[in-house]
């Protein structure tokens, strides 16, 4: 498994570098402009609070948009971070196994004395390592810049929130991975369906505060359990994180079931 993991990471080293740099730059940009808003936060907050609740709920999970927590939640963690990590995760999930299968390079690996479970685990762990690397780099850059910009949020909370955003998207990444593990017919939907689910999950959860009938279905979706503002204020919910981790493990197990005995295309 180790060679599969290390070679997969090595082959994607530049992708890891550019993703880390890109996400770090985005966070740097967001934090760098915060001091300009901070001085006018009271006035701006009043204006933003005039917006309808539906619009506000689409932007952040807090009404105080220009407090340090509200600013980071609305500009980075609530929407943008899941989207950015989502693109990374869904892209990874759809390519770690499926691309090699389409290119027929998967056969080369499977012609060696390695079990399918080993190949699957090696590829899955490589995906996890890539997301973890981007998450760690993003966390470090965010923490350093937040400290330099005197953003009043602790390093631990910033790291926890970045980690939770990554965990949220890992659910979608592992879902895509599981779908590709089941073969061609599932692979056709493997990018579209999880992307749709991610968007629906965000919309349902954001609007469930104002649209009553969305409350129940939103509970079935991962976004419902993602509360960046809550984590940034030090109220992280360990059970929600555990639930997300269990969902990831469930999809990982499903991948094994799908890939174990099926025909390679």
């Amino acid at each position: 498994m180790i060679p599969i993991l290390t070679w997969t990471l090595w082959r994607r080293r530049w992708s890891i570098f550019w993703w880390s740099l890109g996400v770090a730059l985005y966070m740097a940009l967001i934090i760098a402009v915060y001091p300009s808003f901070r001085n006018q936060s009271a006035a701006l907050n009043d204006s933003l609070n005039q917006l309808p609740q539906t619009v506000k709920s689409l932007v952040a999970d807090t009404n105080n948009f220009l407090s340090p927590v509200g600013y980071m939640s609305s500009n980075a963690y609530y929407l943008m971070m899941p989207i950015i990590f989502g693109v990374l995760g869904i892209g990874l999930g759809s390519s770690l196994l499926a691309k090699d299968e389409q290119d027929h390079t998967l056969e080369l690996v499977l012609s060696r004395p390695v079990s399918r479970g080993t190949v699957l685990t090696g590829r899955g762990l490589a995906g996890l390592a890539i997301i973890a690397t981007v998450t760690v780099v993003t966390s470090i850059v965010t923490i350093v810049l937040a400290w330099l910009s005197k953003l009043d949020i602790s390093a631990l909370r910033l790291a926890e929130t970045t980690g939770m955003a990554a965990l949220l998207t890992l659910i979608f990444a592992s879902l895509v991975f599981a779908m590709t593990a089941f073969g061609k017919s599932a692979r056709i939907m493997s990018t579209g369906l999880p992307t749709l689910l991610l968007i629906a999950s965000y919309l349902f959860t954001s609007l469930s505060g104002t649209v009553d009938w969305l409350k129940w279905p939103s509970r079935l979706l991962p976004y419902h359990y993602y509360h960046p503002a809550q984590i940034l204020t030090g109220n992280a919910n360990g059970r929600e994180a555990l639930g997300m981790a269990i969902a990831v493990l469930f999809f990982a197990a499903l991948s094994y079931v799908g890939f174990r005995r099926r025909d390679i295309d």
């Binding site: 082959r11 390079t105 499977l110 390695v114 079990s115 390679i264």
Partner: protein, 302 residues
Amino acid sequence: MDTTDAIVLSKLSKRYGHAPKLALNKVSLKVARGEVYGFLGANGAGKSTTIRTLLNFIQPTDGSAAILGRDVVRDSVEVKRHVGYLAGEVALYNKLTGKQFLDYMAELQPVKHEEYVRELVHRFDADLDKPVETLSKGNRQKIGLIQAFMHEPEVLILDEPTSGLDPLMQEVFFALVKEARARNACVFVSSHNFSEVQRMCDRIGFIREGKLVSEQTLAELANKASHTFTITFRDQAPVAELKKLRSAKVTPHDEHHLMVSIEGELTPLFALLAQHHVTRFEQQEVNLEQQFMHFYQKEVAK
């Protein structure tokens, strides 16, 4: 692990999804250690399906397959410790150099002798420093062959192995197959190129529409093949007498010259010729491909 038969297929069948026809239909065959077995058939006949089943890329619908006495599905990992494989369309990681690719393969399946890998690279004159995507088909094929041979497997399963190789490199490949046979390895070669198979195989199986329609040694095939001779007689050619010979086809050129094709036993022909003054006798090259196709068509017609 030591059994006489290196590869055993027992009524192996494969149906893809809900396809009405079986891609493999109860194929049974055995290939011994130290034997080079040619698996011939047209495109889509079932050659690659058989190979992909042997490598456990696809699951058999029915029947079973074993390599070195182990079931290819149940003991897949153990089986692959002893197998070298070359795909019909060699697909390598494009961004890796040949060396990086071979290093990766060697990490997954350690080689026995590093110097043997170096020897293979030297014999194939392979360029290992360039990214695979910049290499020609022939050069990619060389790397594919090196990775199949480099761990000195006991069973080699090769799908269209000479595809894209120039004649010089084909000679290197044929020599490697000969060496593999000499160390008692079994070589299972799929091809639609008869001359390639004729060149290296001990035995040939012909597959058509998923069924193994014939299995013969090269010697048997040569015996069954028709022999063609051009004969010059001092006097008038005995056309009528020659035509009476069993399975003989006679084509007179002129009063003294003729061409005769005859299948199987040649003694009656020589007995007849002994009664005449033959001034020139030439044998045409035996075209096994033609004969095999002729035989195959007869089998299909049955």
